[in-house]
């Protein structure tokens, strides 16, 4: 992340095709970081669906990815560390017409906010959670995350990480998410297809986007610069169809990262069920 909030928009960005959708002066990410790609993928999809800023809201927690909400010209909320999902739940409950998208980091969503993630998936609240997984706490200086691989060096695992990581795909599936996908951040076409599916699915959607942090992760583990790290990741990517979620390997040591869509379910969403509860309450009228 670039430690300044006073970035000016460079000349060449003034003609950016999404300039009406984006706050270009709030792109504070390191050049080469895929967080920007994820942001533009989301806006591309919103644009394609013909949504304007009254149709959607973006919520993020805290972290490098947490700063992404500021890049949207939409009702955008930069909340507290880990609490983007319950905040988004409130928005959705209050206005079920809204497309509510949570965009946050792996630490935010699965360490401090892990409890909210599993419960939101279980409830099948109709929001889309997009996790930028860089296997590390980017913002705070590259500490170990619940997605860091065993043996990896981070600023708080100088001798190598001893804890196994979550597999976010099987976690999401087991928690009840009705759409679950994983893509490398550079594969914007597939990513966008998944975002569009999520916008259309009336349930809890989860998309894991692999976006290596060359600043905090790459340097410490000698994986090279932004481009070299992408090359390194690209070699490991295997796209599979019909892979069950618990088999969705993400293993840097074996050099296997399985990407694809893992869950596509239809289950009645929370706000729909809430509507039924209201009907029931109004017809029965329990005595106060």
């Amino acid at each position: 992340m670039i430690p300044s909030d006073n970035l000016s928009t460079p000349e060449e960005a003034l003609n950016h095709p999404l300039k009406d959708w984006l706050n270009l002066n709030r792109f504070i990410f390191c050049p080469g970081c895929l967080i920007g790609t994820v942001i533009t993928s989301i806006t591309t999809c919103l644009k394609e669906r013909g949504y304007t800023s009254k149709d959607y809201a973006i919520v993020s927690g805290i972290g490098c990815t947490g700063r992404a909400s500021g890049c949207f010209k939409a009702p955008a909320f930069h909340t507290t560390h880990g609490r983007a999902i319950p905040f988004a739940t409130g928005l959705k409950l209050a206005n079920p017409e809204l497309e509510v998208i949570v965009l946050s980091g792996d630490g935010d969503l699965f360490a401090i906010g892990g409890n909210h993630f599993i419960h939101a998936a279980r409830r099948n609240i109709e929001i889309t959670v997009i996790c930028v997984n860089n296997n590390v706490y980017g913002m705070t200086g590259g500490q170990v995350a619940p997605t860091t691989h065993v043996g990896d060096i981070t600023s708080t695992t100088p001798y190598g990480n001893m804890e196994p990581p979550f597999n976010l795909i099987s976690l999401a599936a087991a928690s009840g998410a009705t759409y679950v996908a994983r893509w490398p951040g550079y594969d914007t076409l597939r990513l966008q297809k998944s975002i569009l599916k999520s916008l259309d699915n009336e349930g809890f959607n989860f998309i894991e986007v692999l976006a290596p942090c060359f600043i905090q992760y790459g340097t410490k583990n000698r994986l090279g610069d932004a481009v070299e790290m992408l090359e390194w990741m690209k070699k490991q990517i295997k796209i599979e169809t019909d892979c069950p979620p618990h088999m969705a390997t993400l293993d840097f040591k074996k050099g296997v990262i399985i990407c694809g869509e893992f869950v596509e379910d239809k289950r009645e969403g929370f706000t729909k069920r809430m509507e039924q509860i209201r009907e029931k309450a109004k017809s029965k009228k329990i005595k106060k």
């Binding site: 909030d5 706050n23 709030r26 304007t52 800023s53 009254k54 149709d55 809201a57 919520v59 805290i62 909400s69 500021g70 949207f72 010209k73 939409a74 009702p75 955008a76 909320f77 930069h78 909340t79 507290t80 880990g82 609490r83 999902i85 319950p86 905040f87 988004a88 739940t89 409130g90 928005l91 959705k92 409950l93 209050a94 206005n95 017409e97 809204l98 409890n115 909210h116 419960h119 809430m274 509860i277 209201r278 029931k280 309450a281 109004k282 009228k285 329990i286 106060k288």
Partner: protein, 385 residues
């Protein structure tokens, strides 16, 4: 006791109910349409009541996974234009702290009812206490002001919950109703009247293309609030921000924002602060109390006056921002001593002690779970004078 309204009502609409239910019904009367909470004794009846009532009025009840989520959910709902509320007790309020700060920073109207029980930690879940009056004021880190109301009767659980919503909307801030385990649970006649004004938040004062989420046009320092689902777009952040919502890490940025957020509340003290008083223009000594523990005071004072003591009382209905003006008034009226009576080891008394240049301050401050009886207060009082 504030039963006059029901007594005067031709239809005598008073019903017998508990403080927790009255608070929940007050929320609905004020226009609350979303409750997100996590059960905790002695507040749980509020959640249970809301789960039954809200769907009937097209509202939403959701039991969240914890109290952090509860406040976050209410803030989200608030930013989609829905009046929202949560209820809890000490340990839950501890968990809510960080997102109360977010509510202050995002200037999101939201109501939090806390039914105080004994602490620290798990403390005495089924007993009453007044030991969270600082927690209500200072829950979150950072330099901020917040509004805290303190009901004394079941009727006030209804009335002050309504007022909490109105103040939250008026000043775009979280408002806390600090009640306690006895008041929450006990039954009293209450009149669910509708003779009050429903306050709605200030709308954006400029068209969408000119809108800046924290731009202030009025002396009250309250910016107009856009919500999601309209033509307005905006970025709001828990980071220190400028009027456009851009993160602002300059020293001036901090000073400007913090001052406005605090001044917005403190300047409004005359509007926010509310208390009941008796005999203070004819008193040397005044007992100051609030909440459940104030209920024994009037009888003790009457007894003292019958014995020829020049004594009066004030009962605070709002605790924060602290009513400095009331203290100054007591000083002006020649009160020479204020006795603070509270069910904790001395909390609000420290605020009163800021006015020791005006009058002497002493306290009946006991970290107990049973409100002080009139007899007990009388005995303590007389010893003091």
């Amino acid at each position: 006791m504030n039963l006059k309204q029901s007594e005067n009502d031709p239809h005598n609409k008073a019903i017998l109910t508990s403080g927790n239910y009255a608070s929940a019904e007050g929320a609905i009367a004020a226009g609350c349409l979303l409750f997100a909470g996590y059960p905790i004794t002695p507040s749980s009846e509020i959640a249970a009541y809301m789960s039954r009532r809200l769907p009937e009025v097209n509202g939403t009840f959701i039991q969240m996974e914890d109290e952090l989520a509860s406040v976050a959910c209410c803030l989200g709902a608030s930013y989609a234009g829905t009046k929202s509320m949560t209820a809890t007790s000490g340990p839950g309020l501890s968990l809510m702290a960080e997102n109360i700060g977010l509510g202050v920073m995002l200037e999101a109207p939201v109501v939090i009812v806390t039914i105080m029980r004994g602490g620290p930690s798990t403390g005495q879940p089924t007993n009453a206490s007044q030991s969270d009056v600082y927690q209500a004021r200072y829950a979150s880190h950072g330099d901020y002001q917040i509004i805290v109301l303190a009901p004394s009767t079941v009727q006030e659980m209804y009335d002050l919950t309504i007022r909490a919503f109105n103040l939250a909307e008026r000043y775009r801030t979280p408002v806390i109703v600090a009640s306690d385990g006895i008041l929450g649970q006990m039954m009293e006649p209450v009149y669910y009247h509708s003779n009050f004004e429903k306050v709605e938040r200030k709308k954006p004062q400029v068209p969408p293309e000119k809108y800046k989420p924290f731009e202030v046009f009025d002396d009250d320092l309250v910016p107009g609030m856009a919500v999601a689902g309209t033509d307005y777009y905006f970025y709001v952040s828990g980071l220190t921000h400028d009027i456009e919502g851009n993160p602002d890490m300059t020293p001036e940025g901090a000073e400007t924002l913090i001052k406005r957020l605090c001044d917005k509340i403190t300047r409004a003290r005359p509007e926010i602060n509310d208390w009941e008083e008796k005999y203070i223009d004819d008193s040397d000594t005044v007992v100051l109390s609030y909440g459940i523990n104030a209920r024994g005071v009037p009888e003790a004072i009457e007894q003292a006056r019958q014995q020829g003591h020049k004594m009066g009382y004030v009962r605070l209905k709002s605790l924060w921002p602290f009513p400095d003006e009331l203290m100054e008034k007591l000083g002006r009226q020649g009160v020479s001593k204020v006795i603070v009576s509270e069910m904790n080891y001395g909390m609000l008394i420290r605020e009163v002690q800021r006015f020791q240049h005006l009058f002497e301050v002493s306290g009946i401050t006991i970290p107990t779970t049973i409100p002080f009886s009139p007899k007990f207060i009388y005995k303590k009082m007389i010893k003091e004078v």
